[in-house]
Point group: none
Chain length 225, copies 2
């Protein structure tokens, strides 16, 4: 779960960042459009929080650039302007939500979760894939209704794969998704081998080891059909 906050008011940014951090969301910060774009280019975020008034332009510019790049990150606009026209423009440009300043941090958090949930799991708390059932809240997995002993990271990995079925996920993307804390891990992918191995092993033991495929040189994917 990784968030990018694009906001130039340092004080507000700090309080949002620390609140999100306290709620187990990894977030990064960009103070202007240019820096935001370069980060977006490098990493996959689950959600982007976008202020409209930025030193080097209007947040809408960023939104347009994003959509032109075919990026699918969810975007929540955070703005002091609350007139309907601005909102409409935001949604038209592809924003997913709009929050008016000032707002409660808890509402922001709820909206982030709603967006990520929709994006990754299509609104279900229980993600089902054929004989596999994953309860996101209870953090349990069953295969053919038999419980599967799985650790937190393994669950995150499994959910990420199933949520992006038939897409190849690069090791870099997986590393980021699992650790959040990118910098140190980006070139050391050994721990992914370990997690993949464990997940594969557990799935195989449970009798459904054929969905998780390694795509040599590119990453891993969850194969549906």
């Amino acid at each position: 779960m990784k968030i990018l906050l694009v906001e130039d008011e340092k004080e507000l940014a700090d309080s949002i960042l620390s609140y999100l951090k306290g709620n187990e969301l990894v977030s990064e910060y960009a103070a202007n459009i240019e820096s935001a774009l370069s980060k977006i280019d490098m990493y996959d975020y689950d959600c982007i929080l976008l202020d409209l008034m930025l030193p080097d332009g209007n947040g809408f510019e960023l939104l347009k650039a994003l959509r032109k790049m075919n990026k699918t990150e969810g975007v929540i606009i955070i703005s002091a302007k609350e007139n309907v026209e601005t909102k409409i423009e935001g949604f038209t440009l592809g924003a997913d939500d709009f929050l008016t300043k000032p707002f409660h941090l808890s509402e922001l958090l709820a909206r982030i979760h709603a967006l990520i949930r929709r994006k990754n799991f299509d609104g279900k708390n229980v993600v089902r894939f054929k004989e596999i059932e994953m309860d996101i809240h209870a953090k349990t997995v069953t295969v053919n209704h038999q419980p599967l002993d799985i650790t937190k990271k393994e669950m995150m990995l499994l959910l990420y794969l199933v949520g992006n079925q038939n897409k190849v996920l690069s090791k870099a993307a997986i590393a980021e998704h699992l650790s959040g804390d990118m910098a140190d891990m980006l070139d050391n992918h050994d721990f992914i081998y370990a997690h993949i191995k464990n997940v594969k092993k557990k799935l195989t033991e449970a009798g459904c080891g054929d969905y998780l495929k390694t795509v040599y040189g590119l990453g891993y994917k969850w194969q549906n059909d």
Copy 2:
């Protein structure tokens, strides 16, 4: 695009319905939870607009029932209550958005569109050439919907050729494209022969080996009639 409006205030409901209709959205209407549930059971909606205060219970009940049934319709809560706790509860129960009454109909419309867009977008990025489909994102190739086992370099080569169809690509250009820019490779073209051979072989086995042509003395080209 089909919307279900669950709302007991007849007057508000009418104005929403006619506005949505005027914007080419098909909407249906339920005045209470029971009627809403039976409609949801019967039809697939893209989006449900849910008032919280309903004659036969709280809208949250409907939301819970929906998620328990594993329904994945998007839900926008429409409520006069705008305290944060209510919003949080809504999001926790799986709502996708929350709109406080009174609101502009145009904002409602924008939020509906944002939700539907998010729900339906599958982020595909495919290059198609007749029976061949290359998914750049998933990094897979299919011929007549049969997956083709292809390596990274082979995929790069194929994309390069198809992307420049009917142009003759010199071996030097291909070498540069495949190898990054390692100077030493640029005059040794043996490895291109190898890759070309493998791609040709795989395409032939898949039944479409006639597009990739050798142009003696010049290079290779992808022939589109």
